[in-house]
């Protein structure tokens, strides 16, 4: 609680002292937002080896990673040495750093856990599956496919949900830290290339391409901390 309070005061101080940043911070109603929703000027996505200090807004909001470090070290930040193109969301969520792209297998893996009990140290997994298509504002669209996203984090010493959850979409970069529910893919966002460049995609005539997601199903289960 002391850490949390200190963090909140630090954020409030930052908002008072830095007018332009305060405008950015005002856009954050919670302690986590979808990476796509973060304004570029506030996108401070630091690697786990970088110092957790004033340079990162994410760090200012971070409260529980020290609990994670003690309770389930494998989930303390993430391995920045792993090739970001070689693992996806599930590889990060399970900290196996491989490309786990079989939706059925990942649904089963998530479902194999138990109902969350709020027990310190348990690893809470969020798994979403949904229909997905690409579309433009002028009505062009692709056929739907079925896809998924998943994240995981460690329940803290107080039995509360983690706020040091990292997320990545396909072979794209890692974003975070944030919360589990805050990592749920949005109903619509810009389509980006499935590689570390994460470039926004457009049609040949320059129309922005968007991903539309619907028919969401969610699984939230807790698993043991892996050794």
């Amino acid at each position: 609680m002391l850490q949390r309070s200190a963090g909140n005061h630090a954020v409030a101080r930052l908002m008072r002292q830095a007018k332009p940043q305060a405008e950015v911070l005002d856009e954050f109603p919670t302690d986590s937002v979808a990476p796509e929703a973060v304004p570029p000027e506030a996108r401070v996505l630091k690697g786990p080896d970088e110092p957790a200090e004033e340079a990162s807004l994410g760090r200012m909001l971070l409260r529980k990673e020290e609990d994670t470090k003690e309770l389930c070290p494998k989930y303390y930040r993430y391995d920045t040495k792993a090739d970001v193109a070689s693992y996806n969301c599930a590889g990060l969520a399970w900290r196996t750093y491989d490309y786990r792209g079989d939706l059925d297998a990942e649904r089963s893996a998530a479902n194999a856990g138990s109902a969350p009990a709020g027990k310190p140290g348990e690893v809470k997994h969020w798994f979403w599956e949904y229909d997905l298509r690409l579309e433009t504002d002028d009505g062009r669209k692709t056929e739907a496919s079925h896809d998924f996203h998943t994240v995981a984090g460690v329940v803290d010493k107080a039995g509360k949900d983690p706020d040091d959850v990292y997320t990545k979409n396909g072979a794209r970069p890692v974003f975070g830290p944030g919360t589990g529910p805050g990592s749920k893919p949005p109903a619509r966002d810009r389509a980006r290339s499935n590689d570390p460049s994460n470039k926004e995609m457009s049609t040949q005539d320059g129309a922005p391409l968007y991903k539309k997601r619907w028919n969401f199903k969610e699984v939230v289960k807790s698993h043991r901390c892996p050794s």
């Binding site: 792209g101 062009r140 056929e143 896809d147 998924f148 396909g170 389509a191 290339s193 991903k211």
Partner: protein, 117 residues
């Protein structure tokens, strides 16, 4: 998930090599014509009609065609043994050739595939 990595357990062959694949109790022969990376493309439609092609950009799901892939010439003859297949390669008695066959390299595990250089 790199298209540029030899899959674990798969044979490592060169362009121009022949592959002898065991299927059940028979053997068949392919010639390796090229290594290729296969990418799924999505059809973007306008009013229900194809408009342009877009590179797939999945979320968590794996890209549809994990590679690398081989472009092969497949031969029609089937053989009782790998030795008979090797002899047929030497004798150029492999039967009808079908070019442009594309298969994932991972479909040729070393346990059931012989490489003839």
């Amino acid at each position: 998930m790199s298209k540029l990595t030899f899959p674990p357990g798969a044979v490592r062959c060169l362009v121009g090599d022949h592959l002898i694949e065991r299927t059940d109790d028979r053997w068949r022969v392919f010639r390796v014509d090229d290594y290729v990376a296969v990418e799924r493309l999505l059809v973007l439609t306008r009013d229900g009609e194809p408009d342009e092609l877009i590179a797939e950009t999945p979320d968590g799901a794996a890209p549809r065609y994990a590679g690398p892939h081989l472009l092969l010439t497949a031969y029609s003859e089937r053989f009782e043994s790998s030795a008979a297949a090797r002899a047929a390669i030497t004798d150029q008695a492999l039967g009808e050739a079908q070019a442009g066959v594309c298969r994932a390299l991972s479909e040729f595990p070393a346990a059931t595939t012989e490489v003839v250089r």
